[in-house]
Assembly symmetry: D2
Homo-oligomer: 256 residues x 4
């Protein structure tokens, strides 16, 4: 039919006068009170509700990412809130801006490699793993998803995520490839290069059907809560002003 | 003990070499695979895990806020992603910046009024409701949390949230006050001013123990997912460039 | 003419096929190479180009705000860039989010008070100053625009701005009122409460015709450059990772 | 001297009790009232004040980028401000987040190619231009900095910038290379591929000594002003709510 391709469309949702539709379901009648927030993730991103195992896996993914101590994004949230308490959303948004390619966002690069190689190599999972290692070795690029600075002996979160993936039967081809990549790369480099938490998330998210372009999104959902908790603590026990004075004392002004 | 007050402290979490602590619990041993993301919210913000009713209520709160059609924050997410696809987090952050005092964030103002009045008036809930109406009437200020432009006859999400609050026994003093405020203000103005969705969220969040300064946070958690879904749809079915050209055709340049 | 009010309009600019119009001027023929960036500010915000004195004053305003050492917004820029170097704009944006009501943005509150009182009191400038002091005294509110923590004896930037305002004949009613407010409030409190830099900016911006809602914008323009400089320095001499480790050592995890 | 390498340092600025130092200069005594905002850019980023030609060139660069009609970042600013008028900085920050790799930020990619090739090829400028074209041709990658959708016959801003570069004697090796790239690529593709505005900015900024990692910064400075102007216009003549309703009517909800 001519012209039909020109219509602009969304399949996510619509607010009507007396009901809200989300992915073809009536929000108040079918979703609220029935499904959990976590179940909304595959509904919104994959167009379907999850099974029980998948739901437990997703919850574990998110829970693993909520809090990791005073990392840069939560100090950022505190600094921004301390200057602009009128705008909670600005402090949270600034915190999310720090979920970049070198922190949390590295899951994106890992998921991309896994998904592209899994597509290309089909059932040859061992071959996929070997190609990932050798192609990165050739260009001396660090393989995303393995190795961790603070947990050199293995990130306990990554190990636990992969155990849960097996328990919930969400462990699939991408996780299998990444686990082999970690072993092969570790053998070649002579030091352990275990799967790290962003790698585990990338692999498991890929196994559950999420595309690589949005895997960083799990960290964003989880860290929104983490930022909120640090902002609330900043209200009661302010650290920002003391930390910035400490910084000002520690960094020398060098006029030369 | 001298000096102890000077220590800087956090009670949220810490990443150690071989374990991550969150609110005094071992993240991998006690939380991952056991609790849901939603249960992490009271753990992080109130310092305790929720009961089953509270958990269902919280899930309903979040689910109600995920998606509401093509509102300004999701179009913002699409515009930013379309220009800067290298930075998913920037598109999500820009979207959250639109959760301000006139949209989603109005829950904050409502929760503040309810919490301050509930504290001041103690058991006199009817008196609290009457004071809220008369004090706003005196200053001609719009009472936050009641009335809605697109759902004049009552926001179905608000009604459903309050039903679930009763079912889960999380309905408490703040919800009672707000429901009375809606009735009294409606009678005085001669037109229905039902509790709207941000009002219901404010009241129920207050009943569950969340302080008013962070109630806007539920919308931030929910809308992070909504923004992600719109960004993913933008990848497959781009709207941003077509919408901006439509805008450029619709708005006249007036040199005068 | 019916319907004409319904048109959507902008008077700022338009990109045509072979020229760009800005405020009714041809961008390439009339503006580029002819006017400075600073002169574009009144063109965009007031609809006219400035005189020489006004231009010098505006430049001094902006220059005064570019850099103030390692304040929270520039450390924020460094933290975000360190995690997300793929997105320079995200680090700058996060930095601007810290220009809030308690830092830099306080010029907005001061400009509002000055403009509202100047409008209300007309030629009675002394009366305007006295009312500002007494109304704030009555509510025990801190008067915005006077007093400074790190420069108790007087902020050298504020003094210099007011000198330049007199030299350039941009000093007007709002500056006069604020200078009197500082004197009267200082006398009442028994300690010096000199005009601070955001106060001077608020008063001078008001004298030049800028509305209070956007006076925070001067800080945003200036701090965009400041953030860029700190980001560039972070590339060559990274501080972010060292600072965050120092923070992690300084803040105690308190499980209780 | 042992340990000296371990000190953390900044050479940008410091706020002392009675003076502010910026790049080794006294802010109030040496800079305010004397130098323009534009002159602060090389002072902050290159560590030196510019000559008169360089200053005129820089002003033209910035002026060219302030306003380009209703592009996505300014509509973003209006949407965010309309929802969150309490936070001017959030609306400006959201606008800057749209200065990404596909819009404005493409200057970064172009400057990188030019600087890397200029370093590698030394005086052989013609060879540098030919290598850029052939290496992009081989990978079928679009060469950044040439070609433009809305100004197919040549972006008038780019042409004017390059004229001013010659007038001010800031035109150097990088501009020469890019102009040759445009000619060679245009000949090979059989259609004109003129230098576009982000290309001109990239080349001229490179000629003035700015590193590629921060060339996107000129757009950020300029667009901060553009966003402010659109926000101010939104206050007087609101478009955001009308535009979003138009969008909601234009985009069909497709349940399938």
């Amino acid at each position: 039919m001519p012209g039909t391709d020109d219509r602009m469309r969304t399949s996510l949702g619509k607010a009507e006068l007396d009901r809200v539709l989300v992915r073809g379901r009536d929000l108040t009648e079918e979703l609220m009170g029935t499904v959990s927030y976590t179940e909304m993730i595959p509904l919104m991103l994959l167009g379907r509700l999850p099974g029980a195992g998948e739901r437990r896996m997703l919850d574990a993914l998110l829970v693993s990412l909520v809090e990791h101590g005073l990392v840069k994004p939560v100090v950022t949230a505190r600094f921004v809130y301390s200057n602009a308490p009128e705008s909670l959303q600005a402090a949270v948004a600034a915190s999310l801006l720090g979920a970049g390619s070198r922190h949390l966002g590295s899951s994106e690069g890992c998921a991309r490699v896994l998904q592209e190689m899994a597509t290309e190599m089909g059932d040859n999972l061992e071959g996929a793993a070997q190609r990932i290692v050798s192609e990165h070795g050739a260009t001396r690029a660090r393989i995303p998803g393995i190795g961790h600075r603070t947990h050199a002996g293995g990130d306990p979160r990554a190990e636990r995520l992969l155990v849960i993936a097996r328990e919930t039967e969400t462990h699939g081809r991408h996780s299998w490839i990444l686990e082999r990549v970690a072993i092969i790369a570790g053998e070649r480099s002579g030091r352990p290069l275990p799967v790290n938490v962003t790698g585990a998330i990338a692999a498991i998210a890929s196994d559950m059907g999420y595309r690589w372009e949005i895997t960083r999104g799990f960290a964003l959902i989880a860290r929104t809560l983490g930022a909120l908790a640090h902002i609330q603590e900043e209200i009661d026990e302010p650290l920002a002003d003391r930390l910035i004075r400490q910084i000002q004392r520690s960094v020398e002004y060098d006029m030369t």
